[in-house]
């Protein structure tokens, strides 16, 4: 029973990671490539680690699997956010099918890509 469940989890995890990789090649602009890769990979790793933890049901392995999941889930969105923001602010064009862009023309001069968010004198923007 437990073996069957972990088989299904491992399989689904692998499928999500495969789809994420295909998505990286297929999606039309930077932001949508990010959608495809970072998030599906996160879910894929989560499922695989859950499958691993179930297979062994051992404290030492369970803790390691949990640590891997925590690190994946805490780093992937941050990286995606930084790449997406840098791409947008440095003017990488959006896909032609993009319906609207409410960020266009917004004033970001106080925190451009290359500088810290806060002013040098420490005051809040």
């Amino acid at each position: 029973m437990a073996e069957g469940i972990s088989l299904v989890l491992l399989f689904l995890g692998a499928v999500f990671m495969l789809l994420a990789s295909i998505g990286l090649a297929r999606m039309p602009d930077v932001l949508m490539r990010l959608h495809s890769t970072t998030k599906s990979t996160t879910l894929g790793v989560g499922l695989i680690m859950l499958g691993v933890a179930l297979t062994f049901d051992d404290f030492a392995i369970g803790v390691r699997a949990l640590a891997i999941v925590i690190f994946m889930f805490s780093t992937a969105p941050v990286a995606a956010h930084m790449i997406g923001r840098a791409a947008y602010l440095s003017g990488v064009p959006l896909w032609k099918g993009t319906l609207s862009d409410e960020m266009r023309g917004h004033d970001f001069e106080s925190h451009p890509v290359t500088e810290q968010t806060r002013e040098p004198d420490g005051r809040q923007p």
Partner: protein
């Protein structure tokens, strides 16, 4: 926080008495410990630990459901030849005020496939996100505000005086 520590101590005690530190046995110990604390809460100091646990489980369930749904939608688009995306960059007015609240909201938006937080405006009142499936901008705005933001703020705010 003391209640949480107590609950963990009870879980470890359960694992020690049953002589088995497997993750599944620790989980059983944690659930039993929670029920024990729930049964004896009138004898202990008042705390919002119990409602927080319920809210956290509710939020985790809601979030995992959203995560799977959104993943399936992106997966479908990757597999089929046509593009079904309706991407927009959307401005979301923020009710979250502190750094921690804004960070948490942006984090959960980024973690969900199909939405990615791009930037926070200089006055920290607007969050800009990129949504992959947004035929209508107002629907997405409402879903984020009433789904993620409302639940997250419920979980993160709460009465500091009663925190256990």
């Amino acid at each position: 926080m003391t209640y949480f520590m107590l609950n963990i101590a009870l879980a470890l005690a359960w694992a020690a008495f049953t002589g088995n530190f497997n993750p599944s046995n620790l989980m059983i110990g944690f659930i039993l410990g929670y029920l024990t604390l729930l049964a004896t809460r009138r004898a202990l100091a008042p705390s919002d630990y119990f409602s927080k646990v319920r809210q956290a489980i509710g939020f985790a369930g809601f979030f995992l459901w959203e995560l799977v749904l959104a993943n399936l939608r992106v997966a479908y688009d990757v597999m089929t030849p046509q593009y079904h995306m309706k991407p927009r960059v959307i401005a979301i007015p923020l009710d979250a005020r502190t750094d921690a609240e804004i960070t948490a909201l942006a984090y959960f938006i980024s973690l969900t496939p199909g939405t990615l937080s791009l930037d926070v405006s200089t006055d920290r009142r607007t969050l800009f996100i990129h949504a992959m499936y947004a035929p209508d901008a107002d629907t997405v705005r409402r879903e984020i505000k009433q789904g993620f933001e409302r639940r997250l703020l419920e979980l993160m705010r709460g009465d500091p005086a009663k925190r256990g």
